[in-house]
Each structure stands twice: as C-alpha cells, then as structure tokens.
Symmetry: C2
Subunit: 388 residues, 2 copies
C-alpha cells in the first residue's frame, strides 16, 4: 500500500519518526545524557495536590484553561515587569513543544520565512517545515573565549519582506548563552522595522549561572506587541512527563492561537491546578535542583577541560554543556556514535543543532555526579583511543 | 494593530473563538444541557492510581506514549474482533478532539474533500477548514418514525476523485443512531472504490440502548487498512477534564500521524497509567453511569412526547436526545435562544449540526433526573407561550 498518496505533502518532507522508538533505559550500563529530561522526581506534595483536585470533582471540561492556572502564570511572569491579563493572554499548552506548534499553527503560511539561530534547538525544524515555512538560519558568532552569542548582523541579513517570525531560545539550548538586553533590543528593532513576530522560547529562564539573570524581550516596549513567549514547567520543576506548558501573547495574537482547532485545552484540569500551586509553592524544590545542577556543571566543566582535545566553557544558563571537540579531528556525529557504541554514553551531536554546532557535543547534566563522573571517565577513554 | 497580516490564512476563515469564553455555571438557576460533559465525578480510586504513579517516579518523558496504556487500548478494542499491535497502531491523544486534529493534520492537503454527514458533530467543521479541506455534506435520511440514518446514496454522490476522507460518528452524535453492518459495508465499498480513508469517531461506543450493539467498521476486511479510529475516555468514564483519547490506525497511517510535530505525546504519564487501569477495572463505574443514563433517557423521552409540538425518538445510542420541534414553527436557533433567555435552559440548536438538523434540538442528559424534570417543565412552559 502506497501510503504517501494519503499524506499531507509536508509530512513526507519531515524526517521519519521511527515507530516504535525504543526508549534508552536509564539503568544498566548505558548513561543517557542525550535528552533534557531532568533526573529528579516530583515531590510527593504534587501527587497530593492532583489527588485533592480529582476528589474535589475538578475533572470536567475547562474550554479555555483553568482560571487559577492562568492567573498564577500571569503573576509568576510579572516578576520580569511584564503586565499580563490572565484571561486574554495566557494559553495553557501540553508542554513547550505544543506551545511552539500552536504558535506556528496560528501564523505560518506556506512560503513564510522563519529565522532561527544556528545552532538552535532541533525541535524547531520539523514544526516550521510542517507548516510549509522556510527556515532561514542566522549563524551565531563564537567569541574568542569559546562562547556562542547571537549575531545581530546575521539576523539583520536573514530578515526579508517574507519573514513572519524569528524564534529565539533565551536562555539558549544548546549553547547556554543568555541574550543581553542590548542584543534583545537589536532584535526588537529589526522585528519592528521588518514587521515580523518574535517567538521567545524561555523554558530555561530559571537556570542561570555566573551571577547572570534572565532577560525577557517582552520588557522592551517596541517588542511587547509582537512577542509570543513559550514556556514550560518541564525543566523548572522536572515536570516533563506531566506535560505543562503555556503561551503568553498579546491579546490579539492569543486570540489567533486559541482559534487553532486542536480540541479542548490540552492540560488535564487537576494537573493545571497542581501546576498553579507549583508555580507558587514549588520553589524550594526548584532551588534544590538548581543547587545540584550548579554542582554538576562546575564539576563537569572542570573535569572535561582536563581532557586533551576538549574545551568546555561554563554555560551562562541551562543544564547543558556544549564542549568543543574540534581538536579530535572527527565530526560530531562520528564522535557521538563512537561514544555510544564503544562507551555506552549517549550525548547529542552538535551538528544536530545546525552547521555552527559542528565540532561540539551537547551533554545534558541529567544524572548524578557519580554517573556524570563515570561518563566523563568514558569520554576520557574515548579520547585516549582517538589519539592513537 | 491589524493582526490578520500575521495570521495563517485559514485561521481567519474560522469562526472566532471568543476569549474569554465565560463558562456557564452548573449551579443556580441555569440548567446547562448544551455540552456533552457528563455530570459524574471520578471514583476516588482514579486519584489514588495517579498519586501512586507520580510517587513511583512516572513523571518523565514517554516520547511514544506509555506502553501499558497502548497495550490496554489494544486489548480493550480487541473485543470487536480487531487485532491491534499496541506498539505500532495506538497513538495516545489529548482527548477525541486531538485525535481528530492529528488525523487531519497528517492527511489533508488544501483542496482535499472530506465527507461528513448532515447532521454531524459540529466539532468536525473547523479542523477540516483549518487544513484547507473542502467539506462535502452527505445528508442523512429521516425514517418515517423519525430516526436519522446514514444515506448511502448521498455518500456515494458526495464521493469524488478529490475525496481524501469520510468522517463517520458511530454511534452518532447528535442523532443517536448506530450504523448497521450493512451501512458500514456500503461505506467501506465506496471508500475502497474511490480510494479514500475512513475516520471512525466511536467515542460513544459504550452507550448503546434498545438491545443494539456498537458495530466497528474496522471489522470489515475491505475497510481495515484505510480506517482510523478516534476514541476517548471522556464519555465512557466521565473523563472529560482528564483529557485522554487515542487513535487506532493501520501501522503505515499511524506512522504518518506520529510525524505531526506537535511535541511529546500529549497525555501526562501518570494519567496514561491511570487510564490504562480504568480501561481494565473501571467498568463497574461505567455501568452505574450507564444505568443512570438509561433511566434519564426513558424518563425524558416519555415526558417530552407528552408536550404538544415536540416529538422525540428513543436514541439507539449516546446520552443525547434529538427531538423534532418543527411543529413549533420556529427555527432551532430561535427556539434555543428563547429557551435560554426565557427559561434558563441551555440546549444545542439542531442547525448547529447542519441543515438537516434544522427543526431539532439536542439535549445532553448530563444532569440528575430532578434537574432534567425541571428543564422539561420549562420546555413545556415555553411551548405553552409559543402556542399563544
């Protein structure tokens, strides 16, 4: 049966999603530092909150999201000085991925151009392609000391009459950089001049280091009317399997997004209620995780830099390391394949994130220091073999 | 700010989704029989199951759905004699609406024709339009004794070279009919001859009456390779606010649907686990609900038929009544507006479901017999006023 004749055209242009995709076991010999799934479990109070909500009969349709969730989101994000009307500006979504999908679903016509940095989170690619958007990469620049930074000149060059949207990931996955206010102002200026929208993926906003703070592009007056913020509890509260994200958008844009006929608001009501409580009361749990991530980052950066042919900067944010492995002389996919096949350590190849990611690997610090230490031992062993 | 220039074209053709949409209170003077949100709450065990799953650390990504959920779905549906491979054929979705959206998202190119009956669940309209599909209505026929039935001749006439898909709702919302095996065989024949897909929305499969049983089109050999089944726990287990649905599809079609880049599988993992348990152990709860619905149907059909100018057949399935109010001499929207404004009872106008629904109203029996009785008292009062 030739299934392709039944398919939406764009679907066939997407990389195949293998079914079934066997999950890599967390246990045993393999150390999986590939995906950004925090290794922390939920504090028991979350289970209690959900149970209470169900017992209270909170199991019926909420067509526009639970008011309490939307209210709490608006309160939470107001810490950046952005004023948000919960009723008209907050859209609950089933995680950050759905926030991205819905934003594109509401805005992209075939042929529209979408600017994304290079490197960038690989999850942006398929949704843009799916809606027939043309991806235009704006290469980041690499500073002398090895940091990636947004390159305003490249963004300016990438912007055309056809640009509908720029996606920025701030703080950035995979590079760990935080956009500065100056950089954001430049992006806001270009978006205003060329009249396109800004999708600001800020799901790592709470994981900042080195005394740096997250900067929200929606605080820039010029940008606020054209900025859609994609957020998620997945990283902040190790909430990945509970699927809670949200969009914050100007009223008119939020109305467009609400119109995407995806069905009833996609977060189960008791989970919206628990998520609201978490956004108010979950910060001690978050701080504990954050302290642990900080230890992991410091430990691993130090250890990685002791290995010849690897250079690793301390990220400004996120819980990823994005070390430079250029000096090994092999491509990042070859490197990650060898590391997995020979040493059973899964990390992501830098080229997954774009041309500019070549020569790098992304290590998600989602395991205990002991496990990370063992992973680095194995990386060290690989490097010794590569040298021969 | 002219927001339309930022919009995906098709979005602007959809009926506006008002934001915020104030939910109609269940309490107080208003009796809301508009939406199909069962008035039953979850048994406490559901809260326990979810709690246990969270405490067991089941809060991490499952990129392809939880294996236990998929396995249970395959086991459950096998009662119709359909063999399903859980790993490759079951896709968890955030309710039945998302199942519909994803199916269309994987298959519809602009200009493709989609056949839907008239009347039909109004929720099919916007997703088809959104993907640029052309809606072709196949009018049902009305039997002498007042039952709606699929009209094979009209389906045959509606099918063209451009037909990509037919959507059937079996058992049918709003008419309450169950497709017979003969009718399904005819539809399978037409779909095979004209080579289009069948989306079988079977979310009311468990609510059958009058000794009738649900018939699954996937049991027809000719149809099974081209049939996508959209299902949900929302009605079966009063699960609306917990958002669990699923798609069962042939492997190749399931692979297409998995490729829609909507993000990680959209049902929170602990809820997938609880849904699996419910599909195995929740049938006593279901039977209790079913007994109550049966009482409500019998009571209300009898009472409605005692009111002049209203005729109500006993549905073969679902918990909706779809009485004929033609003899009142007013349009169904005028009728429902009057009923709401003058008597504070919310029901759906038949014309919402298509031209053929004109002259009918849909009453969702999602309130206690006492409340339904009061609603019918008010309907009776309206009819007396209308007569003057």
């Amino acid at each position: 049966m030739d299934i392709s004749k039944y398919a939406k055209r764009e679907i066939l242009q997407l990389a195949e999603r293998p079914t079934p995709r066997t999950p890599i076991p967390r246990t045993g010999d393999i150390i999986n530092l590939g995906a950004g799934d925090p290794d922390f479990n939920q504090p028991p109070i979350v289970a209690e909150w959900i149970k209470e909500a169900i017992e209270a009969g909170e199991t019926h349709y909420t067509f526009q999201g639970h008011p309490e969730f939307k209210k709490t989101v608006a309160e939470y994000y107001s810490k950046y000085g952005v004023k948000i009307d919960p009723e008209t500006q907050v859209i609950p979504t089933s995680g950050g991925g759905a926030a991205l999908f819905l934003t594109l679903a509401a805005t992209i016509n075939p042929g529209d151009e979408v600017i994304i940095p290079d490197p960038a989170f690989q999850g942006y690619i398929n949704p843009i392609k799916y809606f027939g958007g043309r991806i235009v990469r704006a290469k980041m620049r690499k500073t002398e000391d090895g940091y990636f930074r947004p390159n305003i000149e490249n963004i300016e060059k990438a912007a055309t009459e056809k640009t509908k949207l720029i996606i920025i990931c701030n703080p950035d996955n995979p590079t760990g950089c935080i956009y500065t206010m100056e950089e954001l102002k430049e992006i806001a200026r270009i978006a205003t001049e060329k009249d396109f929208l800004i999708l600001s993926d800020e799901i790592y906003n709470e994981f900042t280091w080195m005394g740096k703070k997250h900067t929200a592009i929606a605080t820039i007056k010029e940008a606020v009317d054209r900025t859609i913020i994609a957020m998620s509890l997945s990283k902040t509260f190790a909430w990945t399997g509970l699927r809670v994200g949200y969009i914050i958008a100007p009223k008119e844009l939020a109305e467009l997004i609400w119109r995407v006929p995806i069905g009833v608001s996609t977060i189960p009501v008791p989970i919206q209620i628990a998520a609201a409580k978490m956004l108010r009361e979950g910060w001690r749990f978050h701080e504990e995780m954050k302290r642990e991530y900080k230890k992991r980052i410091e430990h691993c950066v130090k250890r990685l830099n002791e290995i010849p042919n690897i250079k690793c900067v301390h990220p400004e944010a996120t819980f990823y390391l994005f070390p430079d492995i250029t000096e090994t002389g092999i491509k990042s996919t070859e490197y990650t394949n060898k590391l997995f096949e020979e040493e059973r350590v899964r990390v992501a190849a830098g080229s997954t994130f774009g041309e500019m990611g070549e020569g790098h690997i992304r290590i998600a610090l989602v395991a205990s220091i002991e496990k990370l230490d063992e992973a680095i031992n194995r990386i060290e062993r690989l490097h010794k073999k590569l040298k021969k």
